[in-house]
Symmetry: C2
Subunit: 419 residues, 2 copies
């Protein structure tokens, strides 16, 4: 197989470095640990369609990052684009909201088990932040429990002392505990009686740079019970997993019920929208928080989201993504085995995490991933990957071909497996 | 003149109240003080074009709120829509940014005096927050000075103790001073030597519910000098005023230079984008802050923004809006006078604030504004208003007709002026 070159990407990056901090910042930037080794990766894309994108040099990739989650039906899905365009022609960002806001809220309330209402914003972090403020407003308590490695956006309270620009006061009311440890949660409630406003958590544990973990049996029932007993809110951050496991909310998927649940990413198939949903008991508290933004009631992303949810329901998107993800990850693990390596798959198949366990440094895994990328299969390192519903059996077959070829390249370069 | 009725708006609102906190939340909601008396206002819009929008009952309004600022070229401007649509067909939210991000950063750097670089996000509050974190990262100090009544978004540190969901630690490092008082700034630096990371301020003072105030001569030079002497950053929050006073930044318009400057609103003519720009000395600090979001590098709003800035430059948008705003506000003040009232105009003509001073309660002003709204001129109370470049002389003439008719209605209802 030919491997790709990234000439235009580098030329554009040189221009970018002059006028943009770090050239490309944030989670899409080459400075991010996900793009290691950086020389294996393109930096700019020019086009995207269905399961694919084309970089600035015209190289085609099957995209298993799905724009880090938002693309759930494939790029430029016709039903979503038609709905977005029709709404844009009428009105997008206006001086008043459109009726579409009500229709979308009605849809979420009908779909999502723990949603009696919906509040729309823009970033996933807007709604995780609002959830915490709502819990503080409702309980008149200050402290928040989160789980180590859990990511809930970039607001100050979600960050750490030592991160640039973070001060002690930002995080002094946040308690960090290990995921899947209900005893630790119980002890925290004992240590801070009447002080804990909420627990915020992803429905399963999908940190970067570590094997992902499903909730152990009994963990969520125990946490739900503790929150009820202690009068604290259970906030589920479903920004990443939402609508990839179930259209009823990932809490429903794991058999429990959140008080507040945060959506973003898959909600609008790439259109800029997030939503906080929750139970009636907290509707007054969320209304009492002063929280607004210039574009939050814009109509176009809402039309896109209504079309996205409707299509996901029509085709059973979560079921389809789970089946395709299972096929793909089983195939990848088998390919590894055939070449004498061990690829460990964790998390849910529709947004799996994987890691070659044959060395302790992670370098071997980076090398294999980079060989895949250079052959047109876009994986990143150290982050869960994503399926979308446009990925076909042919795409999976091609991905497995690439995976085999990448393992051969690894072996050819003298990299030993441990099997 | 006939006055409007809002039947469909009310029917939709009843549905909304069931599934959306407060029915409509945030700055577009009827619960907001801007929409008083609420019975005078429509709640939902169905269409917008140029200078106008049509509510859910088909009533047409000349929109002097411009979606609370973002609409600077009028709704559905052809050049902006063509650029946005062309980009969307190629790629919007992707796994990598598009070259358009670099082109837009280059454009901002060439236009804005204090911009050596640009960092893009979604909310205005994303970039005011990033500016503060950048100042803290650069100076390794904690305290921030802001001015009473200044609005910088809804992040916790920008809010107040007593606001729902806000805790003491959120605001304990924020010092609030009166605008236009350089002595107070000097005293704060004396009181907290080596502790103040930054001053954040709008370029002129445009609080809600109060007369707006231009910077007094000497205020900005004094503040700039103090920041330089004390090693603190001067952050200009140009989210609301940006590109309505000058394309070079509102700091340039008032003859000083910011260290960091925040844009949003007018940047994309309604497409969802914000930008932090700043000087080279802070490029490393901003790069060091962990700050990212799912949609931040999306290409469509960037294409819209490049088209918006290009068009504003081509037609001298700020000059045009200033001329139209001057004509309109002079006409409104004269109309008031002819009917025996006094309408006080403050702030800049392209985003003026106005208030009938004939009573102390503000009720008379609310009544007059509501008579205007019922006749198709969309003003709000207690907030500055906005001009966009689609507002024609005919629109202004029609607005003045409505204003006269509204004053006649006030007089007919027995409301006395003080002149």
């Amino acid at each position: 197989m030919n491997t790709y070159q990234y000439l235009n990407s580098r030329v554009i990056f040189e221009r970018a470095a002059k006028v943009i901090p770090a050239g490309i910042y944030g989670h899409l930037g080459p400075a991010e640990g996900c793009f290691i080794p950086v020389e294996a990766y393109p930096f700019y894309a020019q086009r995207a369609q269905g399961a694919y994108f084309w970089d600035a040099d015209g190289n085609r990739f099957i995209d298993y990052m799905c724009a880090y989650g938002p693309i759930v039906l494939g790029y430029n899905h016709p039903a979503v684009e038609a709905a977005a365009r029709a709404q844009q022609e009428q009105m997008n960002c206006g001086v008043l909201p459109g009726e579409i806001m009500v229709q979308l809220a009605e849809k979420l309330v009908s779909l999502v088990d723990s949603a009696d209402w919906a509040f729309f914003a823009k970033n996933g972090g807007d709604v995780t932040n609002l959830a915490v403020m709502t819990a503080r407003a409702h309980t008149r308590r200050n402290k928040i429990i989160k789980f180590a490695g859990g990511y809930h956006g970039v607001s100050q309270w979600m960050q750490f002392i030592g991160n640039a620009g973070i001060i002690e006061e930002d995080v002094s009311s946040v308690i960090t505990l290990p995921f899947n440890d209900a005893q630790a949660v119980e002890q925290a409630f004992k240590r801070y009686p009447g002080e804990i406003a909420a627990i915020i958590a992803t429905p399963y544990h999908h940190p970067a740079m570590a094997d992902n973990a499903l909730p152990e049996p009994g963990f969520w029932p125990a946490v739900r019970g503790l929150c009820d007993r202690e009068g604290a809110l259970l906030i589920i951050d479903d920004v990443r997993a939402g609508f990839r496991l179930s259209l009823h909310g990932s809490d429903a998927y794991y058999g429990f019920k959140a008080d507040l649940i945060c959506f973003c990413k898959a909600l609008g198939n790439g259109y800029n929208l997030s939503a906080l949903c929750g139970r009636d008991a907290y509707k007054e508290a969320v209304s009492s928080v002063f929280y607004t933004g210039s574009y939050w009631l814009s109509a176009m992303p809402m039309a896109a989201a209504l079309a996205t949810l409707t299509e996901l329901e029509r085709i059973d998107g979560p079921g389809l993504m789970t089946r395709q993800g299972t096929k793909l990850t089983q195939g990848l693990a088998q390919a590894a085995q055939q070449h004498g390596y061990h690829l460990k798959i964790t998390g849910e198949p529709s947004m799996w995490y994987m890691r070659l366990t044959d060395d302790d440094t992670g370098v071997l895994h980076q090398q294999w991933v980079s060989e895949c990328v250079r052959r047109g299969v876009f994986f990143t390192n150290h982050h869960n990957l994503f399926i979308n519903t446009a990925i076909t059996d042919e795409d999976i077959a091609y991905t497995l071909e690439v995976a085999h070829d990448a393992f051969r390249a690894l072996r050819g370069a003298g990299q030993k497996g441990s099997i």
